[in-house]
Assembly symmetry: C2
Homo-oligomer: 254 residues x 2
DNA sequence: ACAATTCTTTGACTTGCATCAAAGATTTCT
DNA sequence: AGAAATCTTTGATGCAAGTCAAAGAATTGT
């Protein structure tokens, strides 16, 4: 199966990466996604301190989970994660899917313990950023401080729009919004605007979108029958993006 | 009608309050809710600078709305707000209800413009905290910095649990969770653990919880018939809190 | 390479909540 | 105080998505 945007690292479950492999933010090709822009080289070198170590997380294993003491934020270097919360009775709600350049762990700040679970959906590699260090450097560099605030605000705004999806939209609208969002984020990372390989199961998509896996599958099939997308298991090609946009938001499209 | 926890201020729609009325954080009885704890008096006096002005917002009017340029966070001194996002086709999703001591406006940081609407559900009074000043003081006072981070993280965690409600719970569970959450927050402000007066309509509750106003009304009636609560329009008394908790979470209760 | 497991699709049937409708209560306006 | 507007309740009916079931496809482990 076609997996154009995957790097597979076959290692132990979750390991600290030796210094030799440590890559400084200043040289990182994801810098534009993770780090504030408009820095001179001196500042950039100091900011390299923010990343203490790197850590590999094997597919299916946890980066952190509910109840774990909070110490660090994580910037995803490669790979793909889901975050979820669980009710006492075991029901699980996927709260997000995160890809390279995105930051996870913000949930842990308030109580010093994580309140959600972060699972790698493929072998992944994260930059560990001890939060105390982030705060120290934020006090020194206003542009970093602003950046951290924006990351948190962006997450709040994202969750607002998920609430809109869950509270007001129908199954087709939810799935259309989901696909458009995923492909847009992948495109920002240099991948195709029209093709993607889903890293998550139908059940995980359903959990995120508040619907059952059967409904996800049926909705994919419906889009496919209508010629809007081509679906072959995890591979999806968007044939008519405008049709998807129209489903998501009938107003702004012809 | 009984309105134990309301202060009505009859003024113009939304006005800046003259300096004479300006109340310093250092003397504010909500300090424990808004401000970090463990401050000496000197620090506290400097922190008073964070609040530039106060502003009254009349019932039904907007504190800010989608698209407004972002400049400040707002700490609610008195009153009650709802925040909402709207889709292009006009559908509205209530994203939260906020009461005294809570902070609104965090959505505006990321794009320098607000992405939601904040409407006063009763005549309200907010402390205007210019965000640039919050950031300046945060760099000077690590404890304030940490406090701001916790407020943002708390909002992320709250939204995670709303996603759980919307994605996984049934109507009765949603309404039970909603009532328990409201009464708990009111209790933390010195009000009754068992009685409350709703500040929002059935439709607004429904929007927040992803259900129609008729379903909200029917669910209230059902709880009432079962002797769990007493409802008379906006007045609600919780008769058997354990029954509500059991509906919300069958596991942790007997 | 084969067996076991996990994931996906599709069909048949059920149900929780939405929709439509109308009356009654409360609040707001003049 | 009376009229108008808004909000709430309740009943009757419909439907989108859930549930149950089973077969087929893909992946994983040995």
């Amino acid at each position: 199966m076609l997996k154009p945007d995957v790097i597979h690292l076959h290692n132990m479950n979750t390991t600290v990466i030796p210094d030799a492999l440590k890559v400084a933010c200043s040289n990182c090709n994801l810098r534009e996604l993770c780090m504030p822009v408009g820095f001179n080289q001196d500042d950039m070198n100091k900011l390299d301190e923010v990343v203490a170590t790197r850590r590999r997380v094997k597919q299916g294993s946890l980066l952190f989970s509910n109840g774990d003491p909070f110490s660090s934020l994580y910037a995803i270097r490669t790979g793909f994660f889901k975050t979820s919360v669980s009710a006492e009775d075991g029901r699980e709600q996927v709260t997000g899917f995160q890809m390279a350049g995105e930051i996870i762990g913000l949930d842990g700040i308030v109580s010093e313990h994580h309140s959600c679970n972060a699972v790698a959906l493929e072998d992944s590699d994260v930059c560990v950023m001890p939060f105390a260090k982030v705060e120290d450097l934020s006090r020194e560099f206003p542009v970093l401080q602003r950046h951290v605030h924006k990351i948190m605000s962006r997450e709040i705004v994202r969750e607002n729009s998920v609430m809109m999806l869950l509270g007001n939209m129908r199954a087709e609208e939810r799935l259309a919004a989901f696909l458009l969002n995923l492909v847009q984020r992948l495109h920002a990372r240099g991948f195709s605007q029209s093709e993607l390989v889903l890293r998550m199961t139908r059940e995980e998509i359903g959990s995120y979108l508040g619907m059952k896996l059967e409904t996800v599958s049926r909705t994919f099939s419906k889009f496919s029958e209508e010629g809007i997308i081509e679906v072959k298991q995890r591979y999806v090609r968007i044939i008519t993006p405008d049709a998807l946009k129209k489903i998501f938001n009938p107003q702004t499209c012809s």
